[in-house]
Symmetry: C2
Subunit: 258 residues, 2 copies
Amino acid sequence: MNVLWIFAHPDARSLNGSLYREGIDAVTGAGHQVEVSDLYAMKWNPVVDAGDYGRDDGERLLVAPASKKALEEGTLSPDIQAEHEKLARADLVVMQFPLWWFGPPAILKGWIDRVFVRGYAYGLPDPDRPGRALRYGDGGLAGKRALAVVTIGGTAESYGPRGLAGSLEELLFPLLHGTFFYTGMAPLPPVAVHGTNHMSGEDYQAASAELRRRLAEAETAEPIPYRTQNGGDYDDDVLRPGAAPGREGLGAHRARRT
Amino acid sequence: MNVLWIFAHPDARSLNGSLYREGIDAVTGAGHQVEVSDLYAMKWNPVVDAGDYGRDDGERLLVAPASKKALEEGTLSPDIQAEHEKLARADLVVMQFPLWWFGPPAILKGWIDRVFVRGYAYGLPDPDRPGRALRYGDGGLAGKRALAVVTIGGTAESYGPRGLAGSLEELLFPLLHGTFFYTGMAPLPPVAVHGTNHMSGEDYQAASAELRRRLAEAETAEPIPYRTQNGGDYDDDVLRPGAAPGREGLGAHRARRT
C-alpha cells in the first residue's frame, strides 16, 4: 500500500521524531511505499486566507465557496495542490502529533483547514440523495484508511472512559469522526503513547513495538464503527429513536461500543 | 469588567466580522472595557517553535520545560508577552471563531498553543497537594470567565445531544474543559450561531440579539458545571464509582446535566 505520513513536531530529536523514524522504517520494511509531509521541516503555512484561492483582498471572502471555485479553476495555492497529489496516491493517511491542549498542534490543524477544501474532501453531491452531500462514511477521500499516532504527557487512565481528561477517542472525535470519517476515510483506533514526560528506555521500546504492531495490521484492522449518514440510523441529521435508544453524547455515534 | 476579545476570521466583511463589531459595541455600550486580539489583522504566528523561547535550534526542544524556563527568565517571544499582559487585565475572555473541522481555526489553536505556556496557564504547584499541579477548576487563569462565540454552517439539530455531528458542547470539550477549565477559567455555555450558509436578515437579527443577551449576562451566568480536580469526584485522575455511577463519556465530567 501507499502511505502518506503527516508529521507535526518542531524537533526531529524528540520522542516524536524517534517514533516517526521508527514508523517510516516499519512501513518501508514491510514493502509499502511512503511519502511524508513533515510540516515543521516544510515550514507549512497553517493559516487559511484569500491567497490560498488565488484571490486578492478586494472581494469579500466566503471561505468554502472560494475554495471550491479555486479547486475547479486550478488556482489553489501550489502547496495545497502538492498535498492533494500526495493524498491521491495514499491508501493510508497517518497523522502523528503531540497532543497539545487536547488536540493537534496548530500547524497540523491548519494542514486540514487548508488542504481539505470544499469539492475535494467534502461537499460532493450524493448521487442517490438529491440536495445532500456525501459525508460521514463517504466523501472525497473514500477508500482510504486514516490513523492518528498521538503522544500524550498524561497517563492512559486519565484518558480512559472515566478519566479526568476525557476519553481519548472522544477528545479526538473532531479528528476521527469530524475529519477522517466525514471525508470518507475509515478511522482506525488511534495509537496513543502516554506518560511522555517520564519515559524510560523500556517505555520507549514498548511504545515502539506497539506502533510497529499497529502499523503491521493497519491494512486489515477494524475501523472505529461509526454510524454512516446513509445507513438508516439518522433522520434529519438526528439519531432515530431506535438507534442507541435513550443515549446521548459522542459515544452514541458508534454502532457498537467495541 | 475588562473583556479580552480574541477574533479569528480572515475577513472583516464576513458574518463573523459583523458579529464581532456587534459584540464589541454591546460590551462597550454596557460600560465595560474591551481589548482585542484580531488574530488575522495582527498576522498572528500560530506555530510553536524554538524561537518562542529565545532559543536557537542547536539544542533539543522539550516544549513544556522550555516554555516554563523562558517565562521565568523573561525571554518569551514579545508577541506572547503582549498577550499575557492583555490576559492579566481581563475578567472575561471571549474567543470568537467559525467552526472549521469541528474546532477552532489553526490561527486560534496556535494562539492557545503559544500563549498558554507552562508555569503561566498550567503547571503551577498546588499548595495543598504536594506533587500535583493546579488544573481543572484552578490554575494560572483562575478568576476569569471564558466564552466561546462560534459560527456553524450546520443546523442546531445536527449539533444537538443526538445530532449527527455530535453535540456542540462535547465537540468543544477540548476548548471548554481542556483549555478554559483546565487553566482555571469558568467556561460559560458557548454562543452558537447556526445555519450560517443561508442567513436571512431576520436570522442575522436573531443571532445578534442572542449574542447581546449572552454578553449582558456574562458576568453572572452559571458556568458549565464541570467537576473540579480537587472536589472529591476523582481518585487517581479517574471518576470515583459514586460520581456519575455507571456512566462513561465526556458528559460524565459535568456535575449536573443542565
